[in-house]
């Protein structure tokens, strides 16, 4: 019995460094959310600043910025989810149909790569590609004779580039989970289909797709939690004042109003709303995933 007790103490000791860090950098800041309901006076600190109730929120909702920011976040995130959902499936199926194994591996290696590069650097490249005198404009000019388009300064094009480049960066990585599911399909199912005289399309429809259906449902339900994540790193590094109307999202607005302009209460108020809604979305998507795809975190 004594041994059991000392073991419990050692378990707690082992968890100590990690939990201390979580306590400081994740749990402690949660206390700071009271700022959303306070009028922050720097000399008094967070706790001694006066309470204001919902005043910060009414301020937020009286400004047109809040509505714009919420709308942009949801629209961009939904576009990314919708368009980014199908492409990895189609791409995985294409790779699966391919017989040359070495070529398949080369393709996989190449398309996974952009996932690992940072948006800072990719934004640097994209800014150059889509510049007014950039290569894309020159190609369009020589092929279709179009005038120079200011891609990154135009509200329509900017959003298109944000969604397009996000899909470009992530579609390869997104195929991994489908490819893993595809290799899990029992080969004897294909053999049986061959004996029954099934065509390629029939095999796709009756063997391959049912084989990855669970994974498709899983990825779909888990993607729901990202409805308020439009991609801070990407937009922050690509946008400019000309396209705030179409691209300013919650995270970029919190950064600007909070860190750059020092409006801590407003930034906290909007940030808290985002965290709260995201939390509900995560719980919702996890419970859907566990119900329909038998998914568990641990």
């Amino acid at each position: 019995m004594r041994r059991k007790w000392s073991e419990q103490i050692h378990f707690n000791l082992m968890l100590l460094p990690g939990m201390l860090l979580i306590l400081i950098f994740t749990i402690w800041p949660m206390g700071g959310i009271v700022l959303a309901f306070k009028h922050f006076i720097p000399t008094k600190g967070i706790w001694h600043s006066p309470w204001t109730g919902w005043e910060n929120y009414s301020f937020v909702f009286d400004t047109p910025v809040a509505l714009r920011v919420f709308k942009n976040t949801v629209v961009i995130a939904m576009m990314k989810i919708a368009f980014g959902f199908l492409i990895p499936i189609v791409f995985a199926l294409m790779l699966h149909e391919l017989r040359f194994q070495w070529f398949k591996r080369v393709v996989q290696t190449i398309v996974y790569l952009p996932h690992f590069l940072s948006w800072v650097l990719l934004a640097g490249i994209l800014r150059d590609l889509f510049a007014v005198d950039g290569i894309i404009n020159q190609l369009l000019h020589s092929m279709f004779g179009t005038e120079q388009i200011m891609f990154l300064g135009d509200n329509f094009w900017f959003r298109t580039i944000v969604v397009g480049s996000d899909i470009w960066k992530e579609f390869g990585f997104g195929t991994i989970i489908y490819l893993a599911a595809l290799t899990g399909i029992n080969p004897s199912l294909y053999e049986a289909a061959d004996i029954d005289g099934a065509t390629r399309m029939q095999k796709l429809k009756y063997v391959t797709l049912p084989g990855i259906a669970t994974t498709i449902v899983l990825v779909g339900t888990l993607s729901l939690q990202n409805v308020l994540n439009a991609g801070f790193d990407q937009i922050f590094n690509l946008y400019n004042t000309l396209v705030y109307d179409s691209s300013d999202i919650i995270d970029t607005y919190v950064f600007r109003s909070g860190i750059e302009e020092g409006h801590y209460e407003i930034g906290t108020a909007i940030g808290l709303m985002k965290s709260a809604v995201s939390f509900v979305l995560i719980i919702f998507s996890y419970s859907l995933a566990s119900r329909f795809a038998n998914y568990r975190i641990f």
Binding site: F11, P29, G32, I46, F100, I125, N237, F298
Partner: protein, 295 residues
Amino acid sequence: MVRNTTAGAKAAEAVLIILLALISFSSLFPIIHNLAISFSMPAKAMAGFVTIFPKGFTLDSYKKLYEDSVFFSSFWVSVKRVVITCAISFFISLLMSYPLSRSVREFKLRNVYMWLLVFSMMFNGGLIPFYLVVRQMHLMNNFWVLVLPMLVNVFNVILIVNYFRSIPKELDESASMDGAGPWFKAFRIYMPLSMPVLATTTLFLIVTVWNEFMLGLIFINHESGIPLQTYMQQLVVRIDPTLLQSLEDVKRLASVSDKTLGAAKIFASMLPIMLVYPFLQRFFISGIMLGSVKE
């Protein structure tokens, strides 16, 4: 499998190969284009003739890069940061994962910790409270602000916990019989057996830490202390929004920046990731599967 070798099937295969080749090319094109610019003569790159081959091949931009002391100081900050973060994180994650992989019967508080961990992954105070906490701790302009917040990656811990749970219980029990305590078991039994997952999480952490730029941006004010990605963010990407009032401004700003040197810096900043990528690739497929579907 019965091989279908009709002409139609061959044509379909050919179309597939061409399509996949085109997609692969489009994945690489922006990177190749950037590389081509970095090797081009500035005047030609500025006039915009470069696509995938450099125009007027020269190493000038890399020579200029070599003399750029700020680039290298931030590069070393990043290297130092990645090495220190990954080394410490490796041990912290391992230490956290072992008790958490025990059952509630063996470790009474297991579910309390697990709940805290998962909650901290799902909910957070947001950027501003985090910013204020770090400031309150007087970590501003301190190298450790780049390290400490990244040491515990809950997702990685969960990955390791799941892996530990797949290791047969009998092993743990027999070690206990021989008198092994939890520390001995974590380091001498579970660690060697879990190298695949520990390597996966470490490699993922290398990429995450190398690519992270926010901490340096908001907490470090002096040029010599910022990590590489923050430096790049400020150099290549960040343009003071208040300066941009018209189309002319955007054009003017684009032309004053040194295009070829910028491209060289971008490529040099990608290089470490491209170098660990081959090692990474071996591991992340299994890593992703560990993190997603479990039976």
